[in-house]
Symmetry: C2
Subunit: 455 residues, 2 copies
């Protein structure tokens, strides 16, 4: 380990190599704290591409695994340390290099915080849509690694759709530039897209060209109360079938609504079975919300409350954004599923999830990006209680099995990490896994990059 | 060859294996007829996935190369036969299997014609945006192979953004399913996107899940005349900087306008240096066009003519769609460049192209998806004239070099094929080429799939 530390320090500035075990231990985990993690041999905090290349050359020379990290807000253990690894934190590479309103691109380093970029482009009349719940702290590099989603996706899509080109340091320290700065481009295989969602297993993203949109009008929201999640899902299907394009279409079940009320006293309707939030950032959001309100009523909504103004709309969004934090107060720990099903299967997914919770005698609160069919069943449990922990893990797995049986995927936006490794193989099948491993070998023949993740 | 024919026939129905050299020769070329092509040993026309698997198993057993083909409307020679290959035409697999307005997806076989799908989904109130110029005849499988674009891209993006999942027969006949039917999904590396634009070099696409959008309002267009291409490009930049989202933003240079007038007597302004076409399919297209008209005037437009109604708008689009056919009447043959540059570099690209035409004493008409920075300089030449042919090829290459020097790509939407092979390596660089070749080996270790294309 002394040689590793010395060789890392030879190419990195003072303070950029952390070796105190108390300090490095604090870099072992992302937010999926119950997932296993190893002990890092060192944490490095490079500030330049050349320094990242030095780290990778050193790691390759000494055959030491490297785990890239952003803000460690991930929910699948994808950034958890491997035993004896170098944790390569990109948070100090946090410069926005360029924002161009005509080309509608931003060029950024990977450590830029999502909210910092979003506000910087907004000042230029532009919009960077991807908005994971952790957007105030998570980094663009982490968003690229996990192909993050958010509330915006029902209209604006996920991170992958905003990554035009990448600068990547390969496992052996060589530099690769993928993609483009242009609006279109089809030259060769799409390596850019291959890196998005690869969880740091193919290379270290050290720069990105991101696509931007013109800033839309401020969105206006409504809340609709339903007597069952099935009725709320029926409304979701009716809204999509009618050709609407909401900028947000979220569902909170009773457990989630009550948890948010307890946490923040936001005055949500405590007695409701399911709350649907819908917003539009169109030219005439009042008319669009009126049409959606009628569809909700037809699907059985007991009350439809349009926000009076953008401020009230923002309050509804805040309630939704608090869901996860609120559900975390129910028991000492949570496991967050991320199953995405076809919209037509959303009701079956939610009913099935409720049945699984009952079977395992657990509280499972569900918030969902309903317009995308992307549900987040949050399994609440006490890690100190062995039996409850076992039931939690089994119910978590059964929810993924249900999602796959409904034609869905085990992960809509949180990634695989260590939490869903075994399930990735079930979703991909043996041919898919073999090809994915072949790609991994092409980029990282020594298997040094984020080992033990994905597959 | 007798063994190949016999083994192919053993798993294919009567009439699905063509071996008459006069017939098979007619499958040797796509629309880039001047690109080199080999002589096919056979042409097969399977109707089922199982039949495609039989073809690939046979080809692997006998080590015979396979070239997949759709409607052969490609412009880069990507579907040209390799010497002694099996041409695998997917045009008989032309069923639309499913259209779902709630999940907003279509499930199709690869031989479905783009226009057939577009009309079928329109009947259900839905929209499949990708619209290459050849949309009335080209197939979805071909669109996926080349990652086709079209006029819609400035607002709706390219084919890649509409492919959610694929069924693929691998080189050895195994079946791979990639991606999903859901709105979101990040499980493992994005193999779906890897196949889009891979020009049949990684596997045979035998089925696709496509994303659909709600059908937008009918678009309304305007035409603006400019005294120079530079002024028209200034207008393009001003339109994008102002945050507009046109559904179409096209440029035709003087040569193109005149050629279209000669061909179709459409009454375009013969004396103009550059014609800009802009359309909106928004809630209030008249207001949006008025705003764009003012920006055009400010940029120097000598005349701005809004279409009176959707029919007149459609006529303007028809003029644009005729551009290529019209330019083909100037000399016996054409070579069509497909350089895409950042919008901010569009004027430099067009001025540079004009200088190259002058240097080589050739007619080069330019039509462009100006809103995307995607130019199509059409080099007109006579293949019977050796010196002119040489000058044509040199100017064609110099236009790509110019595009790269301006931060652009050699292909925005037509693909690499055989026409731009050497240039792909220049754009990607040695590290990129090495990794792309590694991916190719992972999927097709014997190198049987569409050999000699891309790299």
């Amino acid at each position: 380990m002394a040689e590793l530390h010395a060789r890392l320090r030879a190419g990195l500035p003072d303070g950029a190599v952390l070796t105190d075990p108390d300090v490095t231990a604090s870099y072992a985990h992302d937010m999926a704290s119950f997932c296993t993690a190893g002990t890092p041999a060192a944490v490095v905090l490079p500030r330049t591409v050349e320094q990242v290349r030095h780290v990778m050359r050193t790691a390759t020379a000494l055959r030491v695994p490297v785990v890239p990290q952003g803000a460690r807000t991930g929910l699948s253990g994808g950034a958890n340390a491997a035993e004896g690894c170098v944790v390569l934190s990109l948070v100090k590479m946090d410069r926005i290099l360029e924002i161009d309103p005509v080309d509608r691109i931003a060029v950024v380093e990977p450590g830029v915080v999502n909210a910092v970029l979003s506000r910087a482009v907004a000042e230029r009349g532009l919009y960077y849509p991807p908005d994971p719940s952790s957007w105030e702290t998570c980094t663009i590099g982490g968003n690229i690694g996990t192909a993050s989603g958010g509330l915006c996706c029902v209209k604006y899509g996920v991170t992958a759709e905003y990554v035009l080109g990448l600068d990547v340091v390969l496992a052996d320290g060589r530099l690769l530039r993928t993609g483009r700065r242009t609006a279109k481009g089809v030259a060769g295989y799409d390596l850019t897209r291959l890196f998005v969602g690869s969880e740091g297993s193919l290379g270290i993203v050290v720069g990105a060209v991101l696509a931007l949109k013109p800033r839309p009008p401020v969105q206006l929201a409504l809340a609709a109360e339903f007597p069952s999640t099935a009725a709320a899902c029926e409304a979701v299907c009716a809204i999509m079938a009618a050709g609407h394009t909401p900028s947000l279409l979220e569902l909170m079940d009773r457990t989630t609504v009550r948890a948010v009320n307890r946490l923040a006293h936001m005055g949500l309707p405590d007695s409701t079975e399911a709350l649907l939030l819908c917003a539009f950032d169109t030219a005439d959001p009042v008319a669009d919300l009126a049409a959606v309100g009628e569809l909700c009523t037809a699907a059985g909504a007991t009350e439809v409350v349009p926000a009076a103004d953008p401020a009230e709309s923002e309050l509804l969004l805040q309630a939704r954004r608090l869901s996860l934090t609120a559900l975390e107060t129910i028991r000492p720990a949570t496991m967050i599923d991320d199953v995405c099903v076809p919209r037509t299967k959303l009701a079956a997914m939610l009913d099935g999830t409720a049945a699984i919770a009952e079977k395992y005698r657990l509280t499972v609160g569900v918030c969902a990006h309903a317009g995308d069919g992307n549900t987040h069943p949050v399994v609440c449990f006490d890690p100190a209680d062995e039996d409850e922990s076992r039931r939690a893990r089994e119910s978590f797995d059964e929810i993924m099995a249900l999602g796959l049986s409904l034609g869905g995927t085990i992960t809509g936006e949180h990634g695989v990490g260590v939490l869903k490794k075994e399930w990735l193989a079930r979703e991909l099948g043996p041919v898919g896994v073999e090809l994915q491993r072949g790609i991994k070998r092409t980029f990282d023949p020594l298997g040094l990059l984020n080992p033990g993740k994905l597959f």
